[in-house]
C-alpha cells in the first residue's frame, strides 16, 4: 500500500461493502493480525453505513470519501460524507438499559470498541470520522484514547 490511498464512492449500499472489502485488504496487507483485521473492517463498514445512510441519505449527488493512511505508528482511516453533519448530542448510549432493545444506534459504539482512537467531526457540510488503529509493537500501541 502507498502511504495514502483515497476513494470517492457513491452513496449506495454497494459502497458499504466496497469500503469493508478495501479495509480488509489493506489491513491484511499491512500485517495486522486476523482479529484486528476483522475489527478494522467492521469499524470501516459501520463508518460507511453512517456516511451513506445517515450522512448522505443515499443522495445520488453526494459522495463518500474514504482514505487510508499508513504512518509509522498507525493505520489512519478517514470517512467523510456530504450530509448535514451528525448531532453528537443526540447519540444515545446503546448500553443503557432503556436502549438495549433498540434496533439501531450501535454503529459508533462498535467503531469505538474496535479502534484505538475514534474522532468524529461534524460540520454543516458533512461529517468526518477518523478511525485510528495502532500498529502493534509501536510506542503508540500502549496508549489508548477515544473521542
Amino acid at each position: 500500500m502507498e502511504q495514502t490511498v483515497s476513494y470517492t464512492l457513491d452513496s449506495t449500499l454497494e459502497t458499504v461493502d466496497h469500503a469493508e472489502e478495501k479495509a480488509t485488504r489493506i489491513a491484511t496487507e499491512l500485517g495486522f493480525p486476523e482479529d484486528e483485521v476483522m475489527q478494522i473492517s467492521m469499524a470501516v463498514r459501520e463508518g460507511a453505513v453512517n456516511a451513506v445512510l445517515h450522512g448522505n441519505a443515499y443522495a445520488p449527488d453526494k459522495k463518500v470519501t474514504l482514505a487510508f493512511e499508513r504512518t509509522p505508528e498507525d493505520l489512519v482511516i478517514t470517512i467523510r460524507d456530504q450530509g448535514k453533519g451528525i448531532d453528537l448530542s443526540c447519540i444515545p448510549n446503546p448500553l443503557a438499559p432503556e436502549n438495549l432493545l433498540k434496533t439501531s444506534g450501535r454503529g459508533i459504539f462498535l467503531m469505538r470498541s474496535f479502534m484505538d482512537v475514534v474522532e468524529i467531526r461534524p460540520s454543516k457540510t458533512g461529517t468526518e470520522i477518523k478511525l485510528i488503529k495502532h500498529v502493534r509493537g509501536t510506542p503508540a500501541a500502549g496508549k489508548e484514547g477515544s473521542q
Binding site: 458499504v16 467492521m42 463498514r45 459501520e46 453505513v49 446503546p94 448500553l95 439501531s104 450501535r106
Partner: protein
C-alpha cells in the same frame, strides 16, 4: 457470501438455519421477512441457528433484537443457537448476550420452550 436461510420443524419448534452474513441490506431483510412470516403462520417457537453465520454488523444485531422483541410481543419465544465466536463476542460487548436466550445444543433449545 450472502445470507441463506432455511427452516425446519422439530417437535413443534421452528429451527431457522442461517448461514453467511447478516448485514445491512439483503441479509437483514431476509431475516426480518422470515421471522415475520413464521409468526404470521402461527409458528411462535423459534430457534435461530447462527452456527454458519460468519459475519454480522450493527444492522444485523438490530435485526436479531427486532426478531426477539417481535416474537415476544406476539406471545412467542425466540432462542439463539450455536453462536460463532464473532457473533458471541459482539453480543457480549453490546450487552445483548444476557438478553437473548442462547443455547449451545439443539435438543436443549427445543426442550427449553414452555
Amino acid at each position: 457470501m450472502s445470507m441463506k436461510l432455511s427452516t425446519r420443524q422439530v417437535d413443534g419448534v421452528t429451527i431457522v438455519d442461517c448461514s453467511g452474513r447478516i448485514t445491512l441490506g439483503e441479509g437483514s431483510v431476509m431475516m426480518r421477512d422470515t421471522v415475520r412470516d413464521l409468526l404470521a403462520k402461527g409458528n411462535k417457537k423459534i430457534v435461530l441457528n447462527l452456527g454458519e453465520v460468519n459475519y454480522i454488523d450493527s444492522s444485523g444485531i438490530g435485526e436479531l433484537v427486532s426478531a426477539f422483541t417481535t416474537t415476544k410481543n406476539q406471545g412467542g419465544e425466540l432462542k439463539l443457537l450455536h453462536l460463532t465466536k464473532k457473533v458471541h463476542d459482539l453480543l457480549q460487548i453490546t450487552k445483548l448476550y444476557t438478553v437473548f436466550d442462547v443455547k449451545e445444543d439443539e435438543t436443549a433449545a427445543v426442550k427449553g420452550f414452555k
